[in-house]
Amino acid sequence: MIGEIRKKRLIEAMVDAGLDGLVLYGNAWQNDYLRYAADFGILEGEGLAVVTRDGDVTLYLDDELEGERASLECPEVKTVVARDLIGTVSGVIGRLGNSRIAAGPKRHLPYGLAARRGDLRFEDATALIDRLLMVKTADELAAIRGAARLADEGYAVFRNAAAVGKKDYELIAEIESFFRNEGVDDNFMIIGVGGPEVRGMAPPLGKVLKPGDLVTTELTPCVNGYYVQICRTLVVGEPNEAQRKVFGIYNDALEAGLAVVRPGVTAADIARAENDIFRAHGLGDYVTSEYTRVRGHGLGLFPDTKPHILEDVNTVIEEGMSLIVHPNTYNPEIGYFVHGDSLIVRTDGPEILTKTARQLFSVDAKRAAA
């Protein structure tokens, strides 16, 4: 079980750091720390996992329904439902006595706990856990490969469902239904539909697909807790000359970014390789934060984990990291455009996980929604 493998690694890291206990917070948005220890995909409410160096993991949840589900879905972990989550876990930390405890993630740790950092005497666990989240074991990488297969299949479903007259949220309904049937726990997905007026992606707004539209999406299925992303753009009808030309630039940028990936380079090196392609085409303004957020990011138990691929991020890329490289940004001629593939960093370069062809897809403009 992958949860057991992670727990073993976690305990080893605790021993190395001289820690006796860890307290890890999570919710359905920011669940990577909690899931690393307790292997529970929390959906509602909040949770804290308490891990001791002898291998005991107790999952404290504030939601009765989630407590019930956790007892069935991860029976190897002791689950406690505590409406007073903070009071209960504070008491547990207090009873650990003269031990070295660390808690995290720092930014999200509830104030009721964080404010007692002094009297409960716990340290910050953020860096320790971030390291484990970024550089993965062979078993974690195998799980990520499994999720990649579903990212490709999901994009095929998306492409086949796109049709003139279909609403953006109806497209997403098809994907979500497919993913649930395939055992996909969650899916980070945003979408854009239209032309030059579209400056980014968001949840669906009820837009109706029409000939000439670009349809952009990030699909990020989560399988057994691990997220893998694919970014592609399709055109409703035959792509025009501008759309083909722009696709070429983004494809070159993606390939330039991927070509740099290997252990020892920095996140900034990858971002710079992507952005240089845009600058060479006079599109340097469009790789700034006004038009784009990141040029890729880490993937794992969180769909947007460290390292962020940006020209000012000097995190060293290591073997065993999983990333997506995506030169997604706004183009003034045709609108927001996305194109990206997930990978695992290996000694000899990237192992590309997503197999969907790198092409500007199109759907027949005569294909109408049922």
Binding site: A28, E64, Y111, F178, N181, G183, A202, P203, P204, G206
Partner: protein, 351 residues
């Protein structure tokens, strides 16, 4: 995250509806001697901000600062580009951006000379955000969960109509499931698809695959369905959450009985009060109550258990979701329905 339709619909929840809520909250803030109120949001703890603004984040987090006067301010680390989307789906607040939203909260509080800030669920506020606020202004923080609950507990017409619509949507979606399905996912896939095609903002599906063995709910689609099984559908539509549990059977005689019980529940549930009591609840003749609880929007939580057999309701709630388990003719039946949104309640809320 939220995957479904997020859209400002003036005909369902108007700017006037939201401004009326904001005004009620501002009166309570002033009456409590506070200079402002802070409410945290992410897509799990969305309910407080959704109520006060109509906005639900699909991802990431943010804060809404409500001062004694003026429009609330949504403080977020999201980019200005995403901020344009936020404004398009929630025109009821100002949007301010910073990688450190707590710092802007501190700055805005300093601008009005604030000394006392109420925080909804203070002990659950992300510690980093509180550090950001206090790094700018050493304001006195107090927990304002009860204050907020008191204001929030008063139902309004727009919200109750959305409850009714969302429940209708969920009820219709169940019709897409095939009771002869072998695996849970075969039943729930078409149901979830139907919910989303109807424009839901989000949908969670869970299954108790064989009620003869266990009445706990899990999310896996791979479980084989027993003779009698239950499906829990949690649906969000335009910021309002509803849960429905239906029990099904592949045996036609049992299925007929279950359908009859379900129809009767639908008839009586809306008129039941969301007051944490079970006495008025419909139980079929010969049935024995096994368990119950009441959920409701509370604080930042879209739905939270607020009463059960051991715990009485602590504060009024705008509507509730009553969940029961009972035995009937040797079968276990699980059922959830929204309560407290019938015509009588709607009329009162409109007045």
């Amino acid at each position: 995250m939220r995957h479904g339709l997020i859209l400002w619909r003036e005909d369902e929840l108007s700017s006037a509806d939201v401004k009326a809520r904001q005004a009620r909250l501002q009166r309570a803030i002033a009456a409590a001697g506070l200079d402002g109120l802070l409410i945290y949001t992410n897509h799990v703890r969305s309910a407080g901000v959704t109520w006060v603004s109509g906005f639900t984040p699909y991802w990431s987090d943010g804060l809404v600062l409500v001062l004694r006067e003026g429009a609330p301010i949504f403080l977020t680390a999201l980019s200005k580009r995403v901020g344009e989307w936020v404004k398009s789906v929630a025109p009821t607040f100002e949007v301010a951006h910073s990688p450190f939203p707590g710092k802007i909260a501190g700055e805005r509080l300093a601008m009005v000379g604030a000394k006392r800030l109420g925080v909804v669920e203070l002990d659950r506020m992300p510690g980093g955000v509180v550090d950001e606020i206090l790094s700018v202004l050493p304001v006195e923080l107090s927990d304002a969960t009860d204050l907020f609950a008191k204001v929030r507990g008063q139902a309004d017409h727009a919200e109750l109509k959305l409850v009714r619509h969302t429940d209708d949507l969920a009820r219709e979606a169940f019709k897409a499931g095939d009771v002869k399905s072998r695996y849970a996912g075969d039943f729930t896939g078409p149901v979830e698809r139907a919910v989303r095609l109807a424009g839901a903002e989000e949908c969670y599906v869970a299954v108790a695959p064989d009620l003869a063995k266990d009445r706990r709910f899990i999310r896996t689609g791979k479980a084989e369905l027993g003779r009698t099984f239950a499906v829990r559908l949690s649906v969000a539509y335009n910021g309002v959450w509803v849960r429905r549990i239906e029990t099904f059977s592949s045996v036609s005689e049992i299925a007929a009985r279950l359908a009859s019980v379900s129809a009767e529940l639908d008839r009586v549930a809306p008129t039941l009060p969301a007051d944490g009591s079970i006495s008025a609840f419909y139980l079929p003749e010969g049935a024995g109550l096994v368990d119950w609880h009441l959920e409701a929007p509370f604080g930042t939580r879209p739905l939270k258990v607020v009463a059960d057999a051991e715990t009485s309701l602590g504060a009024p709630v705008p509507y509730g979701i009553l969940t029961t388990a009972f035995s009937l003719d040797g079968e276990t039946i699980a059922a959830s329905r929204p309560v407290g949104f019938g015509d009588n309640v709607l009329r009162e809320a409109a007045e």
